[in-house]
Amino acid sequence: MARVQQVTAIVKPHKLGDVKAALQQAGVQGMTVTEVKGYGRQGGHTEVYRGAEYQVDLVPKVRIEVVVPSGEADHIADVIAGAARTGTIGDGKIWVTDLEGVRRIRTGERGADAL
């Protein structure tokens, strides 16, 4: 059974600050953030250049990765969901993956100690 899990969340960019604050509050010590683009039900938008209209399906999103001790994944997902929710379409997804293990590069610590 995996001792650590990865919580991956796709959220709206302007909610990142709130999510970060909520995670800090929840005692999470670290996370990794990527600027991504999402395609989904939210739909994209139209851009127009010199009269030519383009449908742009990809909208800016932020991908958050947090590695946590297995037991906490669900709680952390709750925390993220709570902070990222605006109630409008496109709020994003959260998923959880089992990890085989994690280590801290600096010290070589493993498992939950590495977090």
Partner: protein, 412 residues
């Protein structure tokens, strides 16, 4: 062609170039999702204002027979000889950039449709009368007739007419418009500081034409041109150095944004005084402006108005600094004039200083009130503010259906 004509032709191009420069200066400071909106707010001013200016603005602000507003003698460029036409083109660039200055304050949240209507109305209702008050000429005698100019206040290139005027209008606008979502808690750092530096470079370059270009009118006066240029140069340099020193002491770092801000602060302050002071006075104007503007900017957090890019702190305050310092540094030996054109440090009494203060207060009050009312009316009719969702998305996409920067995936 006189040398003066050549100089005014070039100066017109230089001041025209300032508006795109201002667009980039401001555009670099906003977040990347709102940069196009900022660019367009500025560029639009050099689109709509010239059309207004040649039809009525130039005439109404030029000459007349009373102290408050000019006449219709030159509407539609009527009856202008070559040299008046050149002067009209030169002054048109000033008319265009003045409302553009305001855009920095309302960044990130103003509906473009409201801006599109605001700009010509504000120019007509606020800018045109104020310019007439300060520079308006008697259509018979050619003497100053605008009530502020006639009283004796000095404003060479538009410290009061342009910077104080636009600065306080910016304040009125943001009072009506309200704060950006997230301000001041959320950090909204500049998205592209090299653009800010570029804009600063263009502004500085153009400001030589802005402040010294007028010395080419009517044949031109080379010595006065040299003085105006030197003053402008020194004030910009001193503004930069002063700002860098203040921020080094207060915040611990020399910054690019600080250096650029100091340049603009110094340039604003010397604008009214460019041809009225001499020697090393430009350094004093720049240094005082650098310190005062830096300090003034901090007020917005205390007073709670969200002047996004510090139009009030830099243009209103910098303009006041320059206008007041004229009361101390004006030297009638430079441009010629009587004892009433001398500042306290150059043998004059307090009269000039008093006139400067009257002029400043009059423009502050008039511009604030009219702008405030105009903003309220626009808010009630068109609506000043974009929907909250659009503000979060960013105005470029929401208002303009464009994106500033497209990566490899932009087309998907």
């Amino acid at each position: 062609m006189e040398g003066g004509d050549a100089w005014v032709l070039v100066a017109t191009a230089m001041v025209l170039f300032m508006t795109p420069g201002l667009a980039l200066f401001y555009g670099g400071m906003v977040r990347s999702k709102n940069v196009l909106n900022m660019l367009l707010m500025n560029l639009y001013c050099v689109g709509i204002i010239p059309l207004l200016w040649v039809t009525v603005g130039a005439s109404l602000s030029g000459s007349g027979s009373n102290g408050l507003i000019g006449g219709f003698d030159n509407i539609g460029l009527k009856d202008l000889d070559g040299s008046s036409l050149l002067a009209t083109a030169f002054l048109m660039t000033f008319a265009a950039i003045t409302p553009a200055l305001i855009s920095g304050a309302v960044a990130d949240r103003l509906r473009f449709a409201a801006w599109a209507v605001f700009v010509p109305l504000w120019s007509l209702l606020v800018y045109v009368p104020v310019v007439y008050w300060i520079y308006g000429l008697d259509s018979e005698t050619g003497d100053l007739i605008g009530w502020l100019g006639a009283r004796g206040s000095l404003d060479f290139a538009g410290g009061t007419a342009i910077h104080i005027n636009a600065g306080v209008a910016a304040l009125a606008m943001v009072v009506v418009l309200g704060k950006r979502a997230g301000w001041p808690g959320e950090a909204m750092p500049p998205h592209n500081l090299p653009l800010v530096l570029l804009g600063t470079g263009i502004l500085w370059f153009g400001w030589f034409g802005f402040n010294a270009g007028g010395t080419g009118l009517g044949g031109g006066n080379a010595a006065l041109g040299a003085t105006a240029l030197m003053n402008t140069f020194l004030a910009a340099s001193a503004g930069m150095v002063a700002w860098l020193l203040v921020e080094r002491v207060k915040d611990g770092h020399f910054t690019v944004l600080g250096a650029c801000s100091g340049v603009v602060a110094g340039l604003v302050a010397i604008t009214p005084a460019a041809a009225y002071v001499g020697g090393l006075a430009g350094i004093a104007f720049g240094a005082v402006a650098g310190v005062c503007c830096y300090s003034a900017i901090q007020l917005k957090y205390r007073l709670g108005y969200d002047d996004s890019l510090d139009v009030v702190g830099v243009h209103m305050v910098g303009g006041i600094v320059g206008g007041v310092l004229i009361g101390f540094f004006a030297d009638s030996g430079i441009i010629g004039g009587g004892p009433e054109d001398e500042g306290l440090f150059f043998g004059g009494g307090a009269e000039l200083l008093l006139e400067q203060v009257i002029s400043i207060v009059a423009v502050l009050a008039f511009s604030f009130v009219v702008t405030f009312v105009l903003a309220k009316i626009l808010d009630a009719t068109i609506g000043l503010r974009v929907p909250a969702g659009d503000e979060a998305t960013g105005l470029d996409r929401a208002e303009h259906a464009e994106r500033a920067y497209g990566g490899d995936l932009a087309g998907v």
